[in-house]
Amino acid sequence: MKKISIYILIIGLIGVCIGYKMYNKPHINVAEKPVDIALTATILLADFSSNETSANAKYLDKIIAVKGMVTTVEFDGEKTAISLQTKDDFGSVVCYLTKEEFKKSTEIKEGQEVVLKGICTGFLMDVILVKCIIMNSK
């Protein structure tokens, strides 16, 4: 009898540990994740403006590496938003960087070509990528 209750206690403890771990599951670390889709800002925007529903299915929640020319770099505290040029006159691809990238982002100049990696959350006027990191810049 005593043995059984000890087993139950152990199982219960393991359960609590797993539950606690799941509750505190860390956010996706973009830097460590492999790239799902690599493409240019122009193609990404064109896909969203031609058929938003299919683009949502294809790109949402995916780790995307997007290449493009920087049109604007805006700072809001330690948060940086980089807009990439596309062939479309109205829309662009806007990448919101993580705080850790703030220092690197201050060195980015308008007109420069960059590759940014982030998670796609969808399309409003622009395609939006969050939690972005700078992969390379020349």
Partner: protein, 181 residues
């Protein structure tokens, strides 16, 4: 969604001829807060698109549900997958009229905005109050209001019923600037 997109395109086309009249932000902030004795849940969206037409006093807001960032990854996952079903309903929108928009001044006043809020594919008419102020270049609007989850058909499983409030406080801060290409 198509109608909304067409609406925005129309807005931009018009804004070329009438640049001073449209005010826009792509980086508005909307956050929500659920308070229960067990836990508080908070999420923030920094990529809110909002447009105010200063000639008619109309405004339109669109937000991406997946742009809400939570403190805990698990909360964010549950929110997107189970509660608001972001894959099926990726956006929330608000379209409305600012009542007595002509009264807006360079100092802060409170105005009511009446319009339709769509979340999770369900639309409800609401009236919210916003502290507003307008200069030649900027229209600033801040405020908060409450929404009921049941109005938007958001179902919370009974296991976590005590962790999530039925009434959710929504706060917004929109800093519109004149639209320039």
């Amino acid at each position: 969604m198509k109608i909304l997109y067409a609406f925005f395109v129309c807005l931009f086309l018009v804004s070329f001829t009438n640049a001073q009249e449209r005010f826009l932000t792509k980086k508005g902030i909307i956050s929500f807060f659920s308070e229960t004795p067990i836990e508080n849940i908070e999420a923030q969206n920094n990529q809110v698109l909002s447009i105010v037409d200063a000639s008619s006093g109309k405004m339109a807001i669109a937000i991406l549900m997946k742009s809400f960032m939570f403190k805990k990854a698990l909360m964010q996952e549950h929110f997107n997958e189970n509660y608001v079903e972001s894959d099926k309903y990726p956006k929330a929108t608000f379209k409305g009229d600012i009542i007595d928009f002509d009264n807006i001044t360079t100092s802060e006043i409170t105005l009511a905005i009446k319009g339709n809020l769509t979340i999770h594919g369900k639309t409800k008419e609401i009236t919210i109050e916003a502290v507003t102020k307008k200069t030649d270049e900027v229209i600033e609007m801040t405020g908060n209001f409450f929404i009921n989850l049941s109005d938007f058909d958001v179902k919370i499983p009974s296991v976590v019923k005590n962790n999530i409030s039925e009434k959710i406080k929504v706060s917004f801060r929109l800093y519109h600037k004149t639209y320039k290409k």
